[in-house]
């Protein structure tokens, strides 16, 4: 079996098996019902309310809910920006890192609050432990919880009749944090430690290396520097950060190389587990949805639509990455002698993982809005790299980030239901809620923001010399780098074609803006739809009602997802990865 296939199959089985109980558990949590953890965490929840002066029974209109969300996020951005700028004055900075620069601090603050974790810095060379834990990891939690809160409000709106309110943001946020994320991360962090992920407050250790004379090791660098006799190994509280990075679909790594770094991802099993955990909540939420709307079939349909796109994408990515880059093979053969072994595309991959499961990781991390990487996406084959980019460009909906994936998918459902509803001769309705001009306006607004932001910013970048300077791989791949960056930012993914000079002021600011737009400008229409749907009656279903479950609707939803995105990005992709692929086959290089 090709590399990674067996693992991927096991992965899918584990995801589906675990997503259901987790989803049903979350449904109980969000509906305020008792769970097996209530005895333990109930007091924590109540303490949080008391200390924050929150009345958990208060109900919010969609406007209040949105204001609370935006207000809370603004506090987060301000706090994180201040913290990074003042890092040199704060404790827990054994490496004595200086203050983080304003562009990077802005980009990072926005990026972490928006659950993007686009990293324009190297973690182990920039961030103090204080910044990592109090600043970044905290936002990993809170941004994930905010995303889930929004989808919970949306689902609640679908189930309410003629109601002005959609729930309480503080409660949704707190419950998600305490009942879902905290316990899950505690367990995962310890399992990761068992695999070798460090959890220590020691900054680094100096190792006396075995081969002090190692100049260019294994011929890695053409011109070797005088490697010292010592290797400084950066350590830190990695495991606690790593766990929420996956569960919260955040993706912001402790180290620059992210989950490719052996301390973030030491073993093949930790790798598999990280993929599993970053997929888990997004794939569990459809079950939560089905349980909360009282019709499991509705959740299953959405899950099926997500799975179809996900599995197909993973299949393509694994296929393309399991084949070596023909140009690399040719370059090896050029010098005469034996040909190159066939291990798949190994540039930018780790031996312990291999290319197959690395492609699966890339698929999972971009199908969710995680953005963690265990390999260099920039070095993927053109079509292997197209898959992650495309998964972001379909709006992070299969399954998407925690919360954001499901609500994005539900917006697509609104569009799908609208057109299909017309086709069966009824004013379209979803779960008994009529889809009318207001919902369409907001849904279309939502769908417009992403492609417009990505395309306009990308096309600006290719015209600005300061932006073009950031391209590290010339030719069509350079266009792919830029497209990838803005697709990733706007969709709050955070992964990158890492060669791009993301630290340049242009990208730090432009991607920061893309992240803000992609997160908050998109949450507001979602909440507006929720508010409007909550006010409506629920039309009872009949055989004249379009069934929003079953293979036909699932297929239609998949088609709508693909068509909406494919039509917007196909031309740009043709000039990027598709052209590059065809040129690569023809032996061209840049």
């Amino acid at each position: 079996m090709p590399s990674g296939v067996l693992e991927s199959i096991l992965l899918l089985m584990a995801v589906v098996a675990l997503a259901r109980p987790l989803g049903l558990y979350m449904a109980r949590v969000f509906q305020g019902q008792r769970t097996f953890l209530s005895g333990l965490l109930g007091p924590v929840e109540r303490l949080v309310y008391r200390l924050s002066g929150i009345d958990p029974t208060e109900e919010m209109t969609w406007q209040t809910y949105a204001k609370a969300l935006i207000g809370f996020s603004l506090v987060g951005v301000a706090a994180l920006y201040a913290l990074l700028r003042l890092q040199h004055l704060l404790p827990l900075n054994p490496q004595r890192f200086p203050s983080v620069g304003p562009y990077v601090a802005f980009n990072t603050a926005v990026s972490f609050v928006a659950n993007t974790n686009w990293q324009v810095y190297g973690g182990e060379t920039t961030m103090s432990f204080f910044s990592q834990m109090i600043g970044l990891a905290t936002q990993n939690y809170l941004s994930a919880a905010s995303g889930i809160a929004v989808v919970v409000a949306f689902i609640r709106a679908l189930t309410r009749r003629e109601s002005k309110t959609i729930g309480n943001f503080w409660v949704d946020l707190t419950r998600t944090t305490t009942y879902v994320l905290l316990p899950a991360c505690l367990v995962l962090a310890l399992v990761l430690v068992s695999q070798g992920v460090p959890q220590t407050f020691r900054a680094s250790v100096q190792a006396h290396v075995l081969d002090p004379a190692a100049a260019p090791a294994g011929g890695s660098k053409a011109a070797g520097g005088g490697a010292g006799a010592e290797q400084v190994i950066a350590l830190g509280p990695v495991a606690s950060q790593e766990a929420i990075k996956e569960f919260g679909t955040n993706g912001g790594g402790f180290y620059n190389a992210n989950s490719a770094h052996p301390f973030e991802n030491p073993t093949p099993f930790s790798n598999w587990l990280e993929i599993l955990t970053l997929l888990l909540i997004p794939f569990a939420l459809p079950f939560t949805f089905g349980a909360m709307v009282g019709d499991r079939r509705q959740g299953n349909a959405i899950l099926a639509a997500m799975l179809i796109i996900f599995v197909a994408s993973a299949g393509f990515a694994i296929y393309f990455e399991n084949r070596p880059n023909p140009l690399v093979a040719a370059a090896t053969a050029d010098a005469g002698g034996q040909p190159m072994s066939n291990q798949g595309n190994m540039e930018g991959k780790e031996v312990r993982f291999g290319p197959g499961i690395s492609a699966m990781y890339a698929t999972a991390t971009t199908a969710t809005s995680t953005g963690a990487v265990d390999s260099s996406h920039d070095s993927f084959t053109p079509l292997g790299g197209l898959i992650p980019m495309w998964l972001m460009q379909i709006g992070e909906t299969s399954p998407g980030g925690v919360g954001s994936g499901l609500y994005a998918k539900l917006i697509l459902v609104v569009i799908a239901v609208f057109v299909a509803g017309l086709m069966v001769g009824r004013t379209p309705e979803y779960l008994g809620k009529k889809i009318e001009p207001y919902e369409m306006k907001m849904a279309v607004l939502y769908l417009l923001i992403m492609p417009l932001t990505v395309l306009i910013l990308s096309s600006s970048a290719v015209l600005i010399p300061a932006a073009l300077a950031g391209i590290s791989n010339p030719g069509p791949h350079g266009l792919s780098q830029i497209l990838y960056a803005f697709s990733s930012g706007t969709n709050n993914n955070g992964s990158a074609f890492g060669g791009l000079g993301a630290g340049l002021p242009f990208y730090a600011v432009a991607v920061g803006v893309a992240i803000l737009i992609g997160r908050f400008w998109m949450m507001i229409p979602v909440l507006a739809i929720a508010g409007s749907l909550a006010k409506k009656k629920i039309v009872p279903a009949s055989s004249g009602t379009l069934p929003t479950y079953g293979p036909l609707f699932v297929g239609w939803l998949v088609a709508v997802t693909i068509i909406v995105a494919a039509l917007a990005f196909f031309p740009a992709l043709a000039l990027g990865p598709i052209a590059e692929h065809l040129i690569m086959l023809a032996g061209g290089k840049f």
Binding site: V193, A207, H261, R352, E580
Partner: protein
């Protein structure tokens, strides 16, 4: 806004202080892992079993190419090469590595192992593929004046299969293999 700030502070303490503290305390049950899986020899740390090292001496097995700066295998600044698939810099580097490998391993048989031609994702990859190790056996054996079979046996011994027979790819830890080689010579 006031509520937002208060809640923000409370949750920051919960997930930014209490949570990592709990994990750190619990991780003390696994001190070796929690401290970075460090390998000590005669009391001195020679490396981490998880972090690769650079080897240039022909009597050692060589690690994969690393793109870290300023030196390869800089364990304080992990990075991949990020070279695109159609980037000339990539193919040039591969050609150069292929040339160097052939030159250093004149007696090697079989195809050039791809992992020795391409840079890893972290720049700190501790492993090479078993075939990459086998490829280097004739050179290492010759340099150390050991029978090839002895070295090959050692490689076999240090070849890890898929984790639990399922996960990942077969691999050889370069540092552990070289440490074993050194102790063999002693």
């Amino acid at each position: 806004m006031w509520k937002a700030m208060r809640l923000f502070l409370v949750l920051t303490v919960l997930v930014g202080v209490v949570y990592p503290a709990v994990v750190t305390v619990a991780a003390m049950a696994m001190p070796y892992r929690a401290q970075g899986s460090l390998i000590r020899q005669n009391g001195a740390v020679v490396g981490s079993e998880l972090i690769g090292q650079s080897f240039a001496n022909p009597k050692y097995f060589w690690s994969r190419p690393s793109a870290t700066a300023p030196d390869p295998y800089n364990a304080s600044a992990s990075t991949p090469s990020n070279l695109g698939p159609t980037n000339k810099a990539l193919t040039d580097a591969v050609s150069e590595r292929a040339r160097a490998l052939r030159e250093a391993n004149p007696n090697a048989t079989g195809p050039l192992p791809e992992d020795l031609l391409t840079a890893s994702a972290s720049g700190l990859d501790p492993h090479i593929s078993p075939q990459a190790a086998m490829y280097q056996v004739p050179r290492v054996a010759a340099e150390r004046s050991l029978p090839e079979a002895t070295v090959r046996t050692l490689v076999d011994k240090y070849t890890e299969g898929r984790q639990w027979g399922i996960f990942g790819e077969p691999r050889v830890s370069v540092l552990k293999l070289n440490l074993a080689l050194d102790s063999l010579g002693r």
